[in-house]
Symmetry: C2
Subunit: 226 residues, 2 copies
């Protein structure tokens, strides 16, 4: 896929409001998709939209969606309905002097398109690996990998990243000029998805410790802060 494919917006993904916050750059879009853990996928049945959270991963210019999470959704999506897949990362509360100028720093991606079922066994297996590695990089080689029956019992959908846009708000408070004189604190409260100490399930054989990819789990692709 050429970069043009992504960097050219369509009428449907064109950012109408605050376009300075928007991006059609593939690297920007991919970084957000790769950092997120959960997407919200939207589809309509009988004029009623549904928005369902589910896990996903990106492999090159495709998104894979794990099927076991929402079979109703999957049955519907298999019919070739239009979908919207959105990933949102919340970075900070923007606490302004005036209520009107409060905001949030966030990075989000919207992908429009039609999801289709992955039928090919090898592509399904590769997608299951990618889904595991998306959530916990390093886990695939340690875990018991899917049997052929498990692969067949799993529904995997794929959505091309062909019509996509990112939207980002970053930086500090922007208040009205006259409000800066107010004796009020204003700034950011950064938010971070913080992993806590892993908790084993009580059935781990003696002598097996939590691996480093879990004890040092970090979601962000930026260098971890210790």
């Amino acid at each position: 896929m050429s970069n043009d494919h992504l960097s050219s917006s369509t009428e449907r993904t064109r950012l109408r409001r605050k376009p300075e916050r928007g991006s059609y750059d593939q690297a920007v879009i991919n970084a957000i998709l790769d950092e997120g853990l959960v997407c919200h996928i939207g589809f309509s049945i009988d004029d009623q939209p549904y928005v369902i959270p589910t896990t996903y991963c990106r492999v090159e210019d495709k998104i894979y969606i794990h099927g076991a999470v929402a079979s109703r959704m999957l049955k519907t999506l298999q019919t070739g309905l239009n979908v919207c897949l959105t990933v949102t990362l919340l970075d900070a509360l923007v606490v302004a002097r005036s209520a009107f100028n409060n905001s949030m720093n966030y990075r989000s991606v919207v992908v429009l398109g039609q999801a289709t079922v992955v039928q090919d066994f090898d592509e399904k297996f590769a997608a299951m690996r990618a889904l595991v590695e998306h959530v916990v990089p390093g886990r695939w080689e340690d875990c018991r990998q899917p049997t052929p029956n498990e692969v067949r019992a799993t529904s995997i959908l794929t959505l091309p990243i062909a019509e996509a846009s990112a939207k980002i708000r970053s930086g500090q408070v922007v208040d009205d000029a006259e409000d800066y004189e107010l004796p009020v604190w204003a700034g950011l409260v950064p938010l971070q998805a913080q992993p806590l100490t892993p908790v084993d399930d009580g059935r781990v054989p003696a002598g097996i410790e939590a691996p480093a990819y879990l004890t040092h789990y970090r979601r962000s692709v930026s260098p971890p802060k210790e």
Copy 2:
């Protein structure tokens, strides 16, 4: 609104898959809505669903959505389209012995209905207060409150919490019986939306420190861990 209103599911919100994870209990639904910071709202235009992240708050049996965030969405919603509003809280990675049994602990709420524009000035003002207090409890009295012009310039939508359901996955890994013998660590990696130290915008008058509701900001409604 009676409790029955919420605790009775409709065909559209009935949980088809893993109904043991579902709830129509109003207190459960409200707790999830009150803890979340961002919702994903879905609506369709010309058979294309869109899923947009935005801020919201709950006041009794209504959700309010702040308008300035997405004017395209608001213009569309004002026409009385059906919407789906979803709030998802991610609690833990569930790291199983087998790839097939990996999961996530989460709490989510789905609300279906029609959003309408709030026209009444006093209701709009109250909703703006509730939106501020939803994100940062304690902030409203400190900030410069909206002027009448700001209230008029703000679009607020409301959605009744009439057709809603919650879905929750909690607890430990559930692996296949034969996999428990594997020499593999398994368990939870709890995730927490961790607020970091507030960062002022460089224009706060000398002597004004970040208030306790920001330095001790905690999202969870459960008692803060110090």
